[in-house]
Symmetry: C2
Subunit: 329 residues, 2 copies
Amino acid sequence: MQKIRIGILGYGNLGKGVELGTAQNKDMELVGVFTRREADTIQLLTTNSKAYHIDEAKEMTDIIDVMILCGGSKSDLPTQGPEFAAMFNTVDGFDTHAKIPEYYDIINQAALKSKKTCVISSGWDPGLFSLNRLYGEAVLPEGKNYTFWGRGVSQGHSDAIRRIEGVADAKQYTIPIEEALDRVRKGEMPELTARQKHLRECFVVAREGADISRIEQEIKTMPDYFSEYDTIVHFISKEELDRDHNRISHGGIVLQSGYTGLHKENTHIIEYGLKLDSNPDFTANVLLAYARATYRLNKEGSYGAKTVFDIAPAYLSMKSNEELRRTLL
Amino acid sequence: MQKIRIGILGYGNLGKGVELGTAQNKDMELVGVFTRREADTIQLLTTNSKAYHIDEAKEMTDIIDVMILCGGSKSDLPTQGPEFAAMFNTVDGFDTHAKIPEYYDIINQAALKSKKTCVISSGWDPGLFSLNRLYGEAVLPEGKNYTFWGRGVSQGHSDAIRRIEGVADAKQYTIPIEEALDRVRKGEMPELTARQKHLRECFVVAREGADISRIEQEIKTMPDYFSEYDTIVHFISKEELDRDHNRISHGGIVLQSGYTGLHKENTHIIEYGLKLDSNPDFTANVLLAYARATYRLNKEGSYGAKTVFDIAPAYLSMKSNEELRRTLL
C-alpha cells in the first residue's frame, strides 16, 4: 500500500503532536518538518524524519501528499494558508471564528487554481464541536444549542493578561458553570449570559513592586475578554505557575436540547463532551484524520477549500466503506 | 422555495414521529401516509395531509420527493426496501446490524437501476452512534470504542419474554452499569464482558396460574438475549405495567478513549450521549434530516444506497454552506 506522505509546517506543540500522530496512523508516513528556524537546530521527537527550512518545501511538492499547517491563526495562517494552498493539499486548524468566511474564500481561490484540496478550520473547535452543533440542530430543529468550554487553558485570555503592565506571566482557565450545565441537561433550554455559562480563573505572576490591586482591576474590567464574566484572580510565584499550571489539558461540551411530540411533550438531550489531557495532541490527531480525507478527495478531483461540514465521515477512516458498514454501522 | 415533499410508509410510532417531525422542518411538507390498512380507518395526528392505501403509492412517484420507510427491520423492510427503492428516493432505519451489508447491496442495486438515492440504517443506532464510533476511531486510532445502551426499553428483548409460555405481557429495560462507565471515563480502557456493561431488568405480567419460577428461569437462561447478563425479573400486574411502563424513552452513550504522546502519557475521552423521552420521535427526526440529504444528493445525480458514513454533514442542514461556515463552524 502506498502510504499518505505527510509534511508538517511549523514545529511548536501542534507540529509535535502531528509528528507523533503520524506514527499512530498506519497508512501515513512523515516526510519532513518545515520551519522558519535553522533546520539543523531542530531536534525532532522521532527519528524517522528530518527537519527542513521552510524555503525547501517548494522543491518537495511531488513527495508530499498533504501538508499540515501548524502555525497560529493570527499571524501565520493568513499568509501561509494561501501560499501553501498554491503548492500542496493542506489541512489547518484556523480558529478565528469571525474570520473563517474570509479565510475560506482566499484558500478556496488558491486551491481551485492549483487543483489542490485544502481543509480549513479542522480540530475540535472549530472541528468536532462544529460537527456536533450541525448534527444537533439538524435532528432537533425545535431546540437550542449550547457550547461550553473547559476546564482548560485559554491561550488568548492568558496572552491578554500578560500584556498588562506589571504582569510577568499568567495562565487563564475557562471553567463551565455546573449550574448552567445542569439546567441545559434537564432540558430547560435556558437563555444564558456569558457570565452564567463560564467562570474565568487567572493565575498571575506579578513583577516585583507591581501594584497587584491595579492588575486585578485591569483584568476584571478588560472588555471582550473578562468584563462580561465573573473572574477570579490569584497572584502566585513563577515557581508555582511553572509547577502547577504547565499542563495543556482542555475540553468542553456541546449540547443540543429539543422538543418533539404533538404538544412538545418529549424532550431530547444530545451531549458531546471532550476531556483532553493534551489539547495540541488531540487537535493534531483530528488534523491527521482530515489529512486522509484531503488526500482521497484530491485523488477524486474534488478541489478547493473544504470544512468538516463538506466531508463525508467515511473519508476519515482507514477502513473501507464495506468494512465500515460491517463493523461500525 | 420548493419544499421537499415527504411520504411516510407505515403508520406506527415511527411513522407518527415522522408526521410530527415534518412540521418542524420548514423546508418540508407531508404529502401522504401510506398503509396496508384501509386508508379511511386511519386518523392522522395532523390535518395537513391524508392517508392512502400502500397500493396507491406507485401512482404518486412524481409528487413525492422522499419516501420514509417506517416499517420493521425483520419483516417489512427486506421486501419494502427494494420495492420502494425502485420507485422513490427513500430513507429507512434498518437496524438488524448483522444483515446491513446484505441489505445495502439489495437496495444499492435497486436504486442504481431506478436512479434513486436511498439512505439505509439511519436513526441513532445505527445512525448517530455509528457516526460517533467512526469519528472517535479516526481521531484516536490508538484507543478503544465503547457503546452503552439505555436506560431504555428494548423491543426485541421484551418480545422474547412475551413468547415464553405463561407470559401475558412484558417490558425489558437495558441499563448501562455505572461502574463500567466510570472505568471507561477514567481512561482505563478495560476489556468488558456483556455482563459487565449492561444489566437487564424485566417487568413481567404472568397469566393466571402460570409457574412464575419457571418463567423467571426461562428468561434468565435464554441464550443470546439474557444468559450472558445479570437479569432482574419483577412480576407485576397488567395495570402496573400499563401505568408505570408505558414510556418509550431510551438513550445511550458512545465513548472513545485513546492515548497520545511520546510515551502514551496523554489520555483523551470523547463521550457522546443521548437522553431521549421518545425513541421513535427522535429516530423520526434523524430520518428526516437524512431525507433532506437524500433529496439533495439525488438532485446532484448521486444515486444508489448510502449510509450515514457516506453523507457530508452539510447535506443535513437547512442552512446554506456559507451560512454554516458563518454561524456553526
